[in-house]
């Protein structure tokens, strides 16, 4: 109730409805009481807002009335609208234009990108394919032979293309290895167990018996006076214990393996070869096959893919044949003299190997 009286007083004061003596009294109270003063100011401001609101409201109402009146009397006209579609078009033509240009640019850039990135080498692909066909043919041929030559797999450019094993047949520097090791070789290098390299040249190659004869052309090569082993001319007996030394590892570590002679002929009854049972790996190709007495009875050449543990060895007799042929069509003064006697007889295996290993070389053809 107090509040209401106060509000009434303030409003009457602001509206100038107070009697003069009441007014002076009120003004005195206002001076003394800052809170009252604040409330008066606040109410004055509120009344002003109210006033403005009322003015605005009244004017708005008037405008509204006038609008309807004028519409009714026809003084102003709402001109009929244009067709909606045209309006839509007008409204969105910018959007449409922007969208269209974006689409256009996108399409254009996609086609440009496609053009640039499409491999224009369809022709080269076809060539590649044909090459692959050739390769397929080659591998098919090889499969038909069912022989997997024990070549060491192809290595990076700096590495040897093919690796194999070879052994001396004459202390002056003549070696025998498998023909397939040095086929297509630009140059042949030999490496002994000490890690020394020697350049060698191919002087004879026979694919049928898978035998190649190499000659060390390097001056640094110290001739071996007496080879520890001999080359056996007669066919080896079935069931003979055999062993081999070779370089199947890329690290030029000599590796020893042993087995037995399992058949007197090679693949499909090949009389130039033996079938042997031995554990060998690519890189063993061209390695010498020794019997227990340390006579060379063959040269390791390959393995049958279709059977497990079936290896083939060229017969040592082929070496003799090869030498005969070399003699026939060469004018070389120094004849290759094959070792006749073996000094390995009745030695135990480790000593045999110790003597042999100096005469076995890693063959690297590039």
């Amino acid at each position: 109730m107090e509040e209401l009286k106060l509000l009434d007083a303030i409003e009457r004061y602001l509206n100038g409805e107070m009697q003069p003596d009441e007014k002076t009294q009120f003004e005195q109270r206002r001076k003394d009481d800052p809170e009252l003063d604040h409330r008066v100011v606040e109410h004055a401001m509120f009344l002003q807002q109210m006033d403005q609101y009322c003015e605005g409201k009244r004017f708005r109402n008037t405008l509204h009335d006038i609008h309807h009146e004028l519409l009714a009397t026809g003084a102003i006209k709402e001109v009929p609208r244009k067709a909606t579609i045209i309006n839509l078009w007008k409204k969105y033509k910018r959007v449409v234009a922007v969208a269209a240009s974006i689409a256009g640019i996108t399409a254009l850039s996609i086609s440009i990108i496609t053009y640039y990135f499409t491999p224009n080498g369809n022709i080269s692909e076809i060539q590649k394919l044909s090459q692959q066909f050739k390769q397929l043919e080659n591998s098919q041929r090889q499969t038909n032979r069912e022989l997997n030559n024990l070549k060491e797999s192809t290595k990076p450019a700096a590495q040897a293309k093919v690796g194999g094993t070879g052994f001396l047949v004459d202390g002056k520097g003549y070696l025998v290895t498998s023909a397939h090791v040095v086929t297509n070789a630009d140059s042949v290098y030999l490496q002994n167990v000490k890690g020394e390299y020697f350049k060698a040249g191919t002087i004879y190659i026979n694919h049928l018996s898978d035998i190649a004869v190499l000659k060390i052309t390097d001056d640094r090569f110290q001739p071996v006076k007496q080879l520890p082993y001999s080359i056996q001319k007669n066919p080896a007996a079935l069931g003979e214990e055999i062993f081999t030394l070779g370089f199947p590892r890329p690290s030029s570590e000599i590796v020893y393996n042993r087995g037995y002679l399992s058949a007197g002929t090679g693949y499909n009854g090949d009389t130039l070869a033996y079938q042997i049972a031995i554990s060998a790996n690519p890189g063993n190709s061209g390695g010498p096959i020794f019997n227990e007495d340390g006579d060379v009875i063959g040269i390791l050449s390959g393995k049958q893919i279709t059977a497990e543990g079936v290896f083939f060895s060229s017969r040592s007799k082929n070496i003799f044949t090869a030498l005969q042929e070399i003699r026939k069509d060469s004018t070389m003064e120094d004849r290759i003299k094959l070792p006749q006697t073996s000094s390995l007889k009745s030695l135990d295996r480790t000593q045999q190997i110790k003597k042999i290993e100096e005469c076995v070389f890693m063959v690297k053809s590039y």
Binding site: Q49, K77, V79
Partner: protein, 190 residues
Amino acid sequence: MKPDSTEEIALLQRLAKHDRQATETIYKLYYNMVQSLILNNNGSFDDARDIFQEALIVLYEKARSGTFTLNCQLKTYLYSVCRRLWLKKLQQQQHYLPEMNGMEDMVPVEEDLEAHQQRNAEFQMMEKALLHLGEPCRSLIEAFYLQKRNMTEIASHFGYTNADNAKNQKYKCLMRLKKLFFAEYKNNNV
């Protein structure tokens, strides 16, 4: 039909005094111009009416402020105000601004519009406060302040036994309205 500048000033003075005739004259003279402006720029009839009426309110407020001098044709002024108002509305509605063909700003009206913006905000605050006040307070307040009816009249109309009763009721309502309004006011000014 077209008024010269002295006539225009007289017209504005009458407008400031809330002369209905004057308001009607201005309405008749310029509404069609504004309507075609709005319609040609993606607006509807409702938009045209709203914009024109708001422009008239701007004019009214300016005329009432007393410091008003019109240094261009009334037509130009209204046109400029409507154009600015409409651009603003488009800006709120859409992400891009269309080129308003042939619509150069003819006179600067920014200051007037800012003042109007302030008043409009206050107007809306009061309207909102009144809306929240609810009946019968709202009608009571409007009867007293808006329609300026006296207390006896109001008492009989609202069924109060006497003017004092009605007055008390009015003060109660007024206190609540003040609270609502100042809450809103603080909110908006923070």
